[in-house]
């Protein structure tokens, strides 16, 4: 190929499906994207975001020089000064006995996350290390592991496309994980029966054989009902054919009030009789404790029906972002070491001592929400944490109160704007390294163009920062860091040396990924409390006896629109920018028939009242919303805070103004 033009194979930086694509550059400027026809996951198909994978790097507001805040204003400086300043700020906080936290990222590579964990546990000697979208994914994984010891995610998408029945716990995966939606669509085209479950009809629901509507908190009840039927049949040692007949059609849990017993029976019957079936669990608006309970229940269903033992059957939890799984496996979590090893695992600690060259802090740390209220210093890698928090506004307030906020990012995010030191790193199009997809596929990401200005690769900056804090060992390249990962995480070494390893990656499965015994106790207790509260709200709403006839429900747990990769992409951000301009105060969605009865038209403002407070907000009408339910898009959760008070649902009254 002639100098000046190149097609570089890399991995899509958005969701966790792990699609392959080529970034194109001409004279070191990104120009576009071509799908990889031979990639085993995507096979030439990319979603809207994948086709725009070059845009944020090309058009985005980039950090190009190290910045240090003086007198409230960011001033450009050189790398040496910025790193020294950052190290001094951190050292002062440590000297005063206060805590520092480190956040890895599902948007960063395995190498960057590994070095962020090294920075936390090795250089700063703290267990306060986490990443933004870890909690929901790990809750799903942990729940699955409670009931299904063998959870093989290998080729899960390909297998899903050939399943006969698919149970899909929705958060609109046509938007969040389009390649997974494609696999389901192909299955439906082949005649599979799709059962969608969620509070709102989505694009996939329109293709479904059956849609089971229920409110957040109802998922686990439905799944438990599925599972109890399956378990009873299993204990009777009956064939799968007999399972469905045992479904008790009497009193269903209150949270399943929207589902008829006949619907439930049909779904159970279809699932149990299928020769191969899939359960796909998308992250929903439910909090982590609920998610764990939901995943547990569905895994019981899969295990009880022996579906998991059948070749080609699938139980697939979906992480939010391209490397959410990789960040967790690199140890960006308060409860485990790289490789998802227990903090007490001596063998894992000795391996880390060998590659890090220093002792490490092996105590359990704080998670992201707790960190923001308790630490005085925070290092953020490639992320804008408030976007994933229960309240974005509260998150920003917490960040602004920190004594030291150090941000490593390619983009000028709102968090970078708040930082005391901003360190510019390469974007996904400018970085070498690896990422790990939802299936466990470890794939190389390759730099297509050099980072702009004085920006440097993330691994280099993390190395230098660790060195400024006294760590001796440094790395020469991202590959050098990956060699350390292979030592620290034996499963990655096995996968890489496997005969099945190809240029499109290799599959690594960590047996330890699911374990977090301490969290299990705490989260189970939390789940019970949260479920009780949800059911109480539901009963209040359903009964309508206390003047709150509607149920206000927050949908989604992560939205791409504010993520830097989308917000800085001209093509991808158009809808969201338009929505923000047209609806600066946010809105809620309401069933069209309900609105007619109240005399509310599309876009009119209404007063929404719960027992916690009230808010006046525009209402948008939607036929896909169930009657008596109102939906709050995740992006507008702060606007509904007076009514929701950081919960995901509330019984409310609605009045036309």
């Amino acid at each position: 190929m002639e100098a000046g033009e190149a097609n570089v194979l890399t991995v899509c930086p958005f969701c966790a499906c792990g699609c392959g694509l080529y970034l194109q550059q001409v004279d070191a400027v990104l120009t576009g994207v071509t799908p990889s026809e031979h990639h085993p996951v995507s096979r030439g198909r990319l979603c809207t975001r994948g086709w725009a994978a070059h845009e944020a790097s090309l058009w985005g507001h980039r950090l190009t020089r190290p910045l240090v805040r003086h007198g409230g204003i960011h001033e450009p400086t050189d790398w040496h000064t910025a790193l020294r300043h950052a190290a001094n700020l951190l050292t002062d906080i440590l000297a005063s006995g206060s805590s520092i936290g480190v956040l890895g990222s599902g948007r960063a590579t395995n190498e960057e996350n590994f070095l962020a964990v090294r920075l936390a546990r090795g250089a700063l000697r703290t267990g306060h290390v986490d990443s933004c979208t870890r909690a929901s994914y790990q809750a799903l994984l942990a729940g699955v592991s409670e009931s299904a010891s063998a959870c093989n995610l290998d080729s899960a998408l390909k297998d899903t496309a050939h399943c006969e029945v698919i149970l899909l716990l929705e958060g609109d995966i046509a938007d969040t994980h389009p390649q997974a939606a494609h696999a389901i669509m192909k299955a439906v085209q082949r005649g599979a029966r799709l059962v969608t479950m969620g509070p709102v009809k989505t694009r996939m629901s329109r293709l479904a054989w059956l849609h089971l509507p229920f409110v957040p908190g109802g998922e686990s009840a439905v799944a438990a009902k599925f599972a109890s039927v399956a378990e009873r049949a299993t204990s009777d040692n009956r064939a799968a054919d007999g399972m469905a007949a045992n479904l008790p059609v009497g009193s269903l849990p209150a949270s399943t009030h929207l589902i008829s017993s006949a619907q439930l029976q049909r779904a159970v019957e279809a699932y149990t009789r299928a020769s191969r079936a899939a359960i796909v669990l998308a992250p929903t608006s439910a909090a982590a404790p609920w998610l764990r309970a939901i995943a547990t229940a569905f895994a019981r269903l899969a295990a009880g029906t022996r579906q998991l033992q059948r070749p080609g059957s699938v139980l697939l939890p979906l992480p939010c972002r391209s490397n959410t799984r990789g960040a967790l496996e690199m140890g960006a979590a308060p409860h485990c070491l790289p490789g998802c090893r227990a903090l007490t695992d001596d063998a894992a600690r000795s391996r880390l001592l060998r590659v890090w060259g220093s002792e490490l802090a092996a105590e359990r740390g704080l998670d992201i929400e707790a960190m923001l209220s308790e630490v005085r210093g925070l290092i953020v890698l490639a992320d804008d944490p408030p976007l994933a928090l229960t309240s974005e506004e509260a998150g920003r307030r917490a960040l602004s109160k920190l004594e030291c906020l150090i941000v490593l990012d390619a983009f000028a995010t709102p968090t970078a704007e708040l930082s005391h030191v901003a360190l510019p790193i390469g974007s996904s199009a400018e970085t070498d390294g690896t990422v790990t997809s939802m299936e466990g596929r470890i794939q190389e990401v390759r730099a297509c163009t050099p980072p702009p200005g004085e920006a440097r690769p993330g691994w280099w900056v993390l190395n230098e920062l660790a060195a400024a804090l006294g760590m001796s060992k440094t790395h020469e390249s991202a590959q050098d860091v990956f060699h350390d990962i292979l030592v620290a995480v034996p499963e990655y070494a096995s996968a890489v040396s496997s005969e099945e390893s190809t240029p499109h990656g290799c599959l690594g499965v960590l047996p330890g990924i699911l374990g977090d015994p301490q969290a299990k106790v705490a989260e189970s207790a939390g789940a019970r409390d949260s479920s009780r509260e949800a059911l109480a709200a539901l009963r209040t709403a359903v009964d309508g006896t206390v003047g709150f006839p509607f149920l206000l429900v927050q949908v989604g747990s992560f939205e791409w629109e504010d993520d830097a990769l989308v917000a800085f992409s001209p093509t991808l951000s158009r809808d969201h920018r338009s929505r923000s301009r047209l609806w600066p105060d946010g809105y809620v969605q309401m069933n069209t028939g309900d609105a007619d009865r109240l005399g509310i038209r599309d876009g009119w403002r209404a007063r929404i009242t719960s027992d916690r407070g009230e808010v006046v907000i525009p209402v948008r009408l939607c036929e896909d919303v169930e009657p008596a339910m109102m939906l709050v898009p995740f992006a507008f959760r702060d606007q509904l805070e007076p009514v929701l008070k950081c919960e995901v649902m509330a019984a409310v009254n609605v009045e036309r103004i």
Binding site: E2, H38, T48
Partner: protein, 350 residues
């Protein structure tokens, strides 16, 4: 085919001829990427050129209509803005184009010529020579025969090559094509009657390959042009579209674009970038009104443009060259043959 338009060259002389062309212009040809994918890319040696290949997923239209296409440099000087057009005057020869892709470039040329000629596109077009390689073995997803876009072309090429057993049959389609033979006259000789017969036989065999598998544009055109496609059908098909936009971005005849300014040094570069009529925001107006708010609306618009008699009259062809790429890249199931069949039959089964 006039006698002096039909030539042949020994296969072993091809590298020498192509190397000669490479000294006059940048050669663009199908190449094998490091991971098994085929790309049209600049080549520095004839050895890099593929002669037997499944067509690239991305069509070579990007050499005339890049995904990011700088049009104007803008800089300010004391409050005044200065505009400077960005001219791509590189001379390029596109070699081994598949018939469908060449037909797609002809379609784009017409679109960028009539009404309001596009100087940026036309400048590039003037500086490009198009050399096609006829498809003696049509590719599996292709249906070019239904669009009069292959497997062999009758016109539109500068040169069309057909691989015979030991020689390459070369048809000259334009003066630009004839100029590509200058300096290499000794390598070419008029095609013999036997070679012409072989070429005709290869075309007949290639056409026969399609048998009755066709994409029935005719009956679909009658229905869509007269508004006889039910709204319910568009809605049903819209449910099977995931709005990835892939069908439009890889289509050799699609040209929807957006305009964006990129900050460079002290100024800006105004760029034309690929866009898709299948994206909701493509027609979103500043007021928030969207004339095509639903997937069914956008799909209806796309296929009306592609298949209707109204556009056939304006553009001179259906907006499809039968390359089959939309079948490969579709995240849903709404590729061209599937939708045309649904329109024709009035029913959709996913």
């Amino acid at each position: 085919m006039r006698p002096d338009d039909a030539l042949s060259i020994a296969r072993e002389d091809l590298p020498e001829w192509l190397a000669l062309l490479g000294t006059r212009a940048q050669m663009i040809a199908p190449t094998s990427g490091p991971h098994g994918d085929v790309f049209y890319s600049p080549v520095s040696s004839p050895d890099e050129i593929l002669w037997e290949f499944e067509n690239s997923l991305q069509p070579p239209k990007r050499f005339l209509l890049p995904q990011t296409d700088p049009l104007v440099k803008i800089h300010s000087d004391g409050g005044r803005f200065h505009l400077e057009p960005v001219c791509d005057d590189r001379r390029q020869i596109l070699v081994n184009l598949r018939s469908c892709d060449l037909k797609g470039l002809l379609y784009l040329e017409r679109v960028h010529t009539y009404d309001l000629p596009d100087p940026s596109y036309l400048r590039r077009s003037e500086n490009r020579s198009l050399v096609s390689l006829a498809c003696t073995e049509p590719c599996p997803p292709g249906f070019c025969i239904c669009c009069d876009a292959g497997p062999f072309l009758r016109h539109g090429f500068d040169l069309q090559m057909t691989m015979l057993s030991d020689r390459m049959f070369v048809e000259v389609g334009s003066d630009k094509g004839r100029s590509l033979l200058e300096g290499a006259e000794s390598m070419f000789r008029p095609a013999t009657p036997d070679e012409i017969a072989k070429r005709e036989a290869l075309e007949a065999a290639a056409r026969d390959h399609f048998k009755t598998e066709t994409c029935h544009f005719g009956s679909a055109m009658r229905r869509i042009s007269t508004g006889r496609v039910a709204e319910e059908l568009w809605e049903a098909m819209g449910d099977w579209c995931l709005e990835c936009g892939g069908c439009t971005l890889i289509c050799p005849t699609c040209y929807c674009f957006s305009v964006k300014d990129r900050r460079v040094d002290e100024g800006w570069v105004r760029c034309r970038t690929w866009d898709s009529c299948q994206y909701a925001a493509f027609t979103l107006e500043a007021s928030g009104h969207n004339p095509r708010p639903g997937r069914k609306d956008r799909m209806k618009r796309r296929f009306f443009h592609k298949v209707s008699a109204q556009y056939y009259q304006r553009d001179g062809d259906v907006g499809c060259v039968g390359c089959g790429r939309c079948i490969k890249v579709c995240m849903g199931t709404t590729n061209m043959p599937a939708v045309v069949e649904a329109i024709r039959k009035g029913e959709w089964h996913g």
